[in-house]
Symmetry: C2
Subunit: 347 residues, 2 copies
């Protein structure tokens, strides 16, 4: 098929031309005049920043044995605790709890029925003990029974006004500036940046493009089933109260293969749920970047993990065995305290 072949080659050449421009020595321009020519300006000099820069140079240098074509430059990022704050509890959980309160007037029976009763009464002691069945009931009541378009609108409206309990900021302001810079730096060097999150895929899609510059088709997450149906003759996709895919732990490499069909060159996580994604990434040939964000800065954000004050946290657990595996396999652990000059853009 000479037509298709030549068409592909010219398209590829076009792309390569573009990437080679983007990959030229001139660094990414960020912020105002002051920040020009500074690579990853919110990172302190040190092994973590060096690991990122050395990796990108190896992959994009045509003379390097580790050079990879742009189409193979895949980088995957966990979200909660890796790209934005996850404590004291996942943002999506806050959304679900708020949504229960909004819907409560339509469900008078919830006043006498757990887990809704505890949420409506603001009984945090009871909420802290919620198990899988409680959360399934809450997700079913708040995330399903509506179309995908309705859900996206509800999530977007909530994100426009809801504020976190500590800084009183919009949740979408609680993204880590150093990680935004890594996303930009990788994309400027021809990488495709994917979110690979245990959180809800459609919830993340509600803001990922605006907040991270990540398109809907590059958001991989957990999902509930959807059903195609005609409502008043109009096709809709209805969200069902039924788990479809859990994109966490061993589900992350499964999800990566399902959605991308390529092994990442770089993977970023922060907890035990990211272990298999980093293993899968690291088992590929050539140079691979495997990084874990370590929450050790109680003053500027939170400290939890083997050496932190909240080492028994169920939200973003960084176990001693994960730290041991990171050392053993040569994964880079990013210390928020020492590697990040700035954590949030508004600091």
């Amino acid at each position: 098929m000479p037509m298709a072949a030549s068409g592909r080659v010219s398209r590829r050449a076009l792309l390569l031309g573009l990437w080679s421009l983007a990959a030229m020595p001139a660094p990414v321009f960020v912020g105002g005049l002051r920040a020009q020519n500074v690579l990853l300006p919110s990172w302190n000099e040190g092994p973590a920043k060096e690991a990122v820069v050395a990796f990108v140079r190896a992959i994009t240098d045509r003379a390097s044995p580790n050079y990879m074509r742009p189409e193979d430059r895949i980088a995957t990022f966990d979200q909660d605790g890796t790209l934005w704050v996850e404590h004291p509890v996942y943002t999506q959980a806050m959304f679900a709890l708020d949504r229960v309160r909004v819907l409560a007037p339509q469900h008078p029976e919830w006043k006498h029925k757990q887990p809704f009763k505890a949420v409506i009464a603001g009984d945090y002691r009871a909420m802290a003990k919620f198990g899988e069945a409680d959360w399934a009931a809450i997700v079913g009541a708040t995330h399903a029974g509506i179309t995908i378009e309705q859900f996206l609108n509800i999530a977007r409206q909530w994100l426009e006004t809801a504020r976190d309990p500590r800084w009183k900021r919009l949740y979408t302001e609680l993204v880590y500036q150093p990680m935004l810079e890594v996303l930009e730096y990788l994309r400027a060097n021809g990488f495709q940046t994917y979110i690979v999150s245990g959180g809800g895929q459609e919830f993340i899609r509600a803001y990922a493009q605006r907040v991270y510059g990540i398109l809907p088709e590059q958001v991989i997450g957990s999902s509930i089933a959807t059903k195609y149906q005609l409502t008043d003759g109009k096709p809709v996709l209805m969200r069902l109260p039924k788990v479809f895919f859990i994109d966490d732990h061993d589900g992350k490499p499964v999800g990566i293969n399902l959605f991308i069909g390529k092994r990442p060159l770089a993977a970023f996580g922060n907890s035990d749920g990211d272990r298999e994604m980093l293993e899968w990434t690291g088992a590929g040939d050539g140079v691979r970047l495997k990084m874990l964000v370590y929450h050790d800065d109680a003053a500027r954000e939170y400290a939890y993990g083997p050496a932190g004050g909240l080492s028994d946290t169920k939200v973003g657990t960084f176990s001693r065995s994960l730290m041991a595996e990171a050392k053993d396999r040569g994964w880079t652990v990013i210390s928020m305290k020492t590697d990040w000059k700035r954590i949030f853009a508004w600091e």
Copy 2:
């Protein structure tokens, strides 16, 4: 987050610059000198070709009320019967049957056990009566119990040598030249082209990039479950004999939302299995292209459908009700006989 915002804007501007070049009046160059300046050269002039060209112009013309940004230019293509030949039986079914014969020596019990016995004996009368359970057993024995990498290698090796019963050509040569031209034309105008097939996602990934210029992450298909495990300390994704997702009929819009998270602007199919994809596409705002390839050319390919000789076919059924819906909703039916000047590149 001014950094992220400005970074995104400049990246977007870069992309827009590229697309605007690609979308300039100069048409796609195809083939040798002779074909230059001819848009979609394997198409005869007529309403089908006109529909494609008018659609692309409306979407890419910045002065048009139907102008869409490149990131929203999504086009989805069924594969079997839309991009390549599906008769007398799906290529993947031929692969599975061949694979049973290859594996038979390792399974002496198959000689006495259906459905394998019929396949090994070449009993086509029995094979024609295979039901869902028979095919599930065959897929389980031939597509599972191996890693994704092993499966891709096996599929690729088979495609390098297996030949179809009618033309004695490689299956990858049985792609429709007019559709390759549409894929190229759309991509040259900033579209992302996805395969959305009822066939196996990983099987299609074995050749989609080489044959159609479609990357693994843009192949949506049916899939079996995979399991992440460590084999001799090495992480692998093992394919399990268990259905995960059926990307056919109402599964097509579900799969499109799951993998892309956007509604297509254009959708191409050829059978009842594509009905919901075209409905979903057509229910979006503005100009949408909805096309069905109609197999009415027994001399150059096959004729099956309401007016064809094989109207009761189970492979690529084009029912009378689909034809009625196409008329009712204004979908464009492509006649292979009258709209396509050439069907295969090697003609």
